[in-house]
């Protein structure tokens, strides 16, 4: 029995569209966070899940995107929608540089992952010393009133941020679905499975890997811009930290690496469960720093041990849903 995911998707979309009508402000912020991680996880998934190039330094693109748009706003009053393009340009450039260096020199697997970590760390420390960007003390963006919607400067009530993130997440899903069905999707997966065999079938592995990196970094730049204008304060230690890099891959890995719905499911499961856990503990009077991360670690451990392909593939099988075009 094979069901199409479209019905499920439509129901989910409808639910998400009307969510602000009955959700309180806390629930709305949690939902926005889930969508943020779903979107960013989707972006990372393009490079790692589809094309098989493990990036453990993706916080680099979040940070560069955030600081690019943030600095333009802070120093020149340039709005986020214009700053977005500069952010994307810079992130794609960084990604292509890393990709070029790695792929030209034949670096893959754990060495590639270490390379991505090294670049992120290098940048983190570098930004700590850039006073024009606020240095270690951070950069703070002016927050105007939150009641009216000022879309040009991306200021407004939480609902505005929610719908924006919803649009991004939906757009990312559509983009990834389209990519998977296209030549890129086939070629990326071939490269991921066996690069040498892929080459023997006429695939220019270098070019297609670069494309994956470019798309992934461009998409992640958008996360960074959102981050800057949502939280309004940026610290190199935080935004480029390896903990952030790990945090944004947890969703796709737990949900299902290389699948379409994995990142979304993973983000939802992790955020909801961990919030539930912290609420429970708070109700019992325990405030323990670090417990949320231990929880993430345990979930990741359990998934890796018992559901190595992630939750979504197992769930989809149960529900009889086929993600791929094989009909």
């Amino acid at each position: 029995m094979t069901r199409s995911p479209v019905a499920l998707l439509a129901a989910l979309a409808a639910l998400l569209l009307v969510l602000p009508l009955f959700a309180g402000s806390y629930a709305l912020s949690v939902a926005t966070l889930i969508l943020y991680f779903a979107y960013t996880g989707q972006a990372w998934n393009v490079m790692t899940g589809f094309a098989g190039q493990l990036s453990l330094g993706h916080s680099l693109y979040v940070g560069v995107g955030a600081y690019a748009a943030g600095a333009l706003f802070y120093h020149y009053g340039i709005g986020p929608w214009a700053g977005l393009w500069i952010a994307i340009l810079l992130c794609v450039l960084m990604g292509l540089i890393i990709g070029f260096l790695a792929f030209r020199f034949g670096i893959s697997g754990v060495y590639f992952a270490l390379l991505t970590i090294a670049f992120a760390e290098f940048t983190r420390i570098g930004f700590d010393h850039l006073d024009w960007l606020g240095g270690p003390g951070g950069m703070f963006l002016k927050v105007a009133q939150r009641d009216q919607i000022d879309l040009a400067n991306f200021r407004g009530p939480p609902v505005m941020y929610y719908y924006t993130m919803l649009a991004f997440a939906g757009g990312a899903l559509a983009l990834c679905a389209w990519l998977l069905r296209s030549r890129a999707g086939y070629y990326w997966r071939a490269i991921r499975e066996d690069e040498e065999a892929a080459r023997s079938l006429g695939i220019n592995a270098f070019r297609w890997k670069m494309l994956a990196v470019a798309i992934s970094s461009a998409m992640t730049a958008v996360s960074g811009v959102f981050f800057a204008f949502y939280y309004n304060n940026l610290f190199p230690e935080q935004i480029f930290s390896i903990n952030r890099s790990i945090e944004l891959i947890l969703g796709p890995v737990i949900g299902g690496l290389g699948t379409l719905f994995g990142p979304i499911l993973g983000a939802a499961v992790l955020t909801l469960l961990s919030d539930g856990l912290t609420d429970l503990l708070a109700a019992l009077g325990w405030e323990i720093p670090g417990i949320k991360q231990v929880f993430y670690g345990v979930v990741l451990l359990l998934v890796v041990m018992f559901l190595p392909n992630g939750i979504w593939p197992a769930l989809a099988k149960r529900l009889g849903i086929r993600e791929a075009e094989d009909r």
Binding site: T48, H129, G290, Q293
Partner: protein, 289 residues
């Protein structure tokens, strides 16, 4: 900037670097033989450091004195971890193994955070501030002892791999996994022993390091990265390379801290990693390409 100052900084860097080298030696053994990418290596080191803090706090025992019991405990821990949890992942796709170790690293770092909080802890022995003088250069006693311990531990490990039958069996596994099984070696057990030895190295390095720096939970990821940098720079598969790489990183960190800014010292290490990965991935003394 006087020569004396630079000389002191360099010597301190060499001594600290030897301890780094021992830590990296543990990773070289684990990564090189068992082929496990131990993303939790630095976290294991940090746990060792906290253990020393706890023991010193409750029993007032110098970390150098408790080296052997701590190393033995870590050996057992490493053996159990490898044979019980990690072993099946050696044959599975790469990224699953990475995620397993990352999960362990996350759990370890944050468990430490939960138990000890984010404030720095340290061990202060009576001779903490004493030093020897050798031709204008001041050698901190703690640093000298730490480095000596590292060298002795490393030498013991060399001897083990060179001269004992078990050691040679382990090297055989590393060279030819299938061949080793064909001749009847119990590869699973040997992998467990190797991981245990790697963990023991880290334990000794941790007990030594705790006298040189303050420990916080966030040191875990930092030391993991540092260990990988050293192993890659020094060359995978080369034990001497690990020690040499450690010294190189120790000295460059010390100099970068002196010449640029203390906060920029690790920037140099990451820059070096990038260069080595691109230009000479087999490292300085590495064998495998």
């Amino acid at each position: 900037m006087s020569w004396d100052l630079v000389a002191n900084v360099v010597v301190a860097g060499v001594l600290t670097g030897l301890v780094y080298g021992l830590m990296a030696l543990g990773l070289s053994v684990i990564f090189g033989v068992v082929r496990v990418v131990n993303f939790a290596h630095g976290e294991m080191m940090t746990i060792a450091m906290y253990s020393a803090v706890l023991i010193f706090g409750s029993l007032k025992l110098d970390p150098f004195l408790v080296l052997l019991p701590v190393a033995a405990a870590f050996f057992v821990f490493g053996y159990v971890l490898q044979t019980g949890l990690i072993n099946p992942f050696i044959t599975r796709p790469e990224h699953t193994q990475f995620m397993l170790l990352i999960a362990l690293a996350i759990i370890m770092t944050n468990a430490l955070l939960m138990l000890f909080g984010p404030e720095a802890r340290s061990v202060q022995v009576d001779y903490q501030l004493e030093s020897f003088e050798l031709g204008g250069v001041l050698l901190d006693k703690v640093r000298l002892y730490a480095a000596s311990v590292a060298v002795v531990a490393a030498a013991s490990l060399f001897a083990f791999f060179r001269f004992t039958l078990t050691g040679k069996s382990i090297r055989a596994c590393a060279d030819n996994h299938l061949g080793a099984r064909v001749v009847g070696l119990n590869v699973k057990r040997l992998y467990g022993l190797t991981f245990g030895l790697g963990a023991a190295c880290v334990a000794v390095a941790g007990c030594a390091m705790v006298l040189l720096v303050d420990v916080t939970p966030s040191l875990g990821p930092y030391y993991t990265l540092l260990a990988f940098v050293i192993v890659i720079v020094g060359g995978l598969g080369s034990m001497t390379g690990a020690l040499l790489g450690g010294v190189l990183i120790g000295v460059s960190e010390a100099l970068a801290g002196l010449l640029i800014a203390p906060s920029a010292k690790s920037m140099f290490s990451f820059g070096l990693l990038i260069l080595v990965l691109l230009l000479r991935p087999q490292g300085l003394l590495g064998k495998r390409s």
